[in-house]
Symmetry: C2
Subunit: 327 residues, 2 copies
Amino acid sequence: MSLRLVQFGLGPIGQACARLALDHGHTLVGALDLDPDRVGRDLGEVLGRDALGVEVADDVTALAEWAPDVVLHTTASFLDQIENQLTACVAAGAHVVSSSEELFWPFDRDPGFSDRIDAAAREAGVVVVGTGVNPGFVMDLLPVVLTGVVARVDRVDVSRSVDAGRRRGPLQKKVGAGLSEAAFRERQAAGGFGHIGMVESAKALAAGLGWDDAEIAETFGPQMAMSDHETEHVTVTAGDVAGIHQTATVRVGGELRASLTLTMAVGAPDEDRVVIAGDPPMTVVVEGGTFGDTATVAAVVNTARRVGAARPGLRTMLEIPAAATGR
Amino acid sequence: MSLRLVQFGLGPIGQACARLALDHGHTLVGALDLDPDRVGRDLGEVLGRDALGVEVADDVTALAEWAPDVVLHTTASFLDQIENQLTACVAAGAHVVSSSEELFWPFDRDPGFSDRIDAAAREAGVVVVGTGVNPGFVMDLLPVVLTGVVARVDRVDVSRSVDAGRRRGPLQKKVGAGLSEAAFRERQAAGGFGHIGMVESAKALAAGLGWDDAEIAETFGPQMAMSDHETEHVTVTAGDVAGIHQTATVRVGGELRASLTLTMAVGAPDEDRVVIAGDPPMTVVVEGGTFGDTATVAAVVNTARRVGAARPGLRTMLEIPAAATGR
């Protein structure tokens, strides 16, 4: 299935999505970005590929002319930064697949936003959905799919551990590797620190399991280094911060029903694990973990093929068919 | 979500489905079975539960009066044995979730059947779907869901290994545990031997991955015992048959793109494994395996909640949303 796509946002993830879309045989009919270094240039050139005859634009009014099937949207994490962008895509009659973490489960964080986007999408007959790996897969979609073969779910525990030392330098710095605990706490107090989307995953998991009135709680703190680590980008001494340790818990009627644990730290093992207590119990391990950067890009591009098979509206990955088999 | 359900078929799996449906808070408004020992009795009594005030019937004309939301269908594996049953359910305006292995992917095995059921279901505005663990989950839905975060899928290898020695006696006999190789081959030549659904899984996997013109090949043979095993039900001597070893392969343009391997044998490890070669590669292990009997029952009952969120027609598990979140 070859789609007419627009790439909205040409940061690293957006560029990777555009390149993968080309590799998958889709056609890029347009691209939007605000960076003056990109606007007006040929999209193919921006991507480090052959020229595509498509000029990067900075104005969403171009969407109507491009008439894409789907917009791959990779501009920002937060709902208040993307509403106008999504509205413009929907008004142009295009489905939207977005990497925005908050869009993965926007209903509780901003009901007004959700109602507006849902109504506009239904009216236009298109789907708007947020996807990715975390949120979007490891801590929400995957456990919900697994519980499809579980008769009685008592509790779900998901852990994702990422060895930040094997990732890009910016990520190692982003998780605070090499900081003292005091410096970590200072940065934490300043805000804007930590992985986005734990609450979104927890909400989606609870909804997917049919748990009403779920109470979600979060924790965020440093993962301390137990030994010294030296990477290309940072030096971590035992007793200093190796990275972040983040959790979200789901309680129903006071009872702990799910825990989500994310460790992104230098020296941490690469592994995702879903443990379902119930009948039958299930323990599922993604050995070596789900490689975040590539997998997020894959989620966006792969979901584009499937949105047309879902009902119009603001949807979640729980509602997008696993495959559009074209029958 | 509480549904009005009819249980169609009251063999061991059907009874387990009915009990789980009650445990999940659904209402059983009717039941169908042909066994004279069950017909006319109270369904609750047949299930070993309190009376339900619902009499087991043997005539599908009762469906119209019961007016169920969904029929849980657990009568037979083969399409030619279930067409009239499915047609009656659809005519009564009910969705159908079936444990029939062939119904999981009926399109290639019997296009005429598939067209007729699909047309009837669309006209009635209902969904007909086959589900289970194998086929229905381990070798098809699960790998397709996993590839949702893989940018480039080179190859998919799925293995399911079941320790038949830890399962019911009938299953141990069914897989030929304790037979000599000659006796196994004799039984094989007589036909009707082996696990049903490998080809269905392979077809679904290929379709879910968008592989056109996939060629499917099957093998079936004995898994020989490497050591002695003594279970409650059979004695297996080293060199005799421990169980079955079945494979299905998917080739595209002559190239091997997927292999499915099922081992059900006394002494085999309990484990499911999905290995995806590609970018990023993924290795996912279900430690201890997916317990077949309970999980199949769970798949049927859990899918009933979600069929209403799919488009009407003859559908596959690849098209049923992971959850119906009720928005």
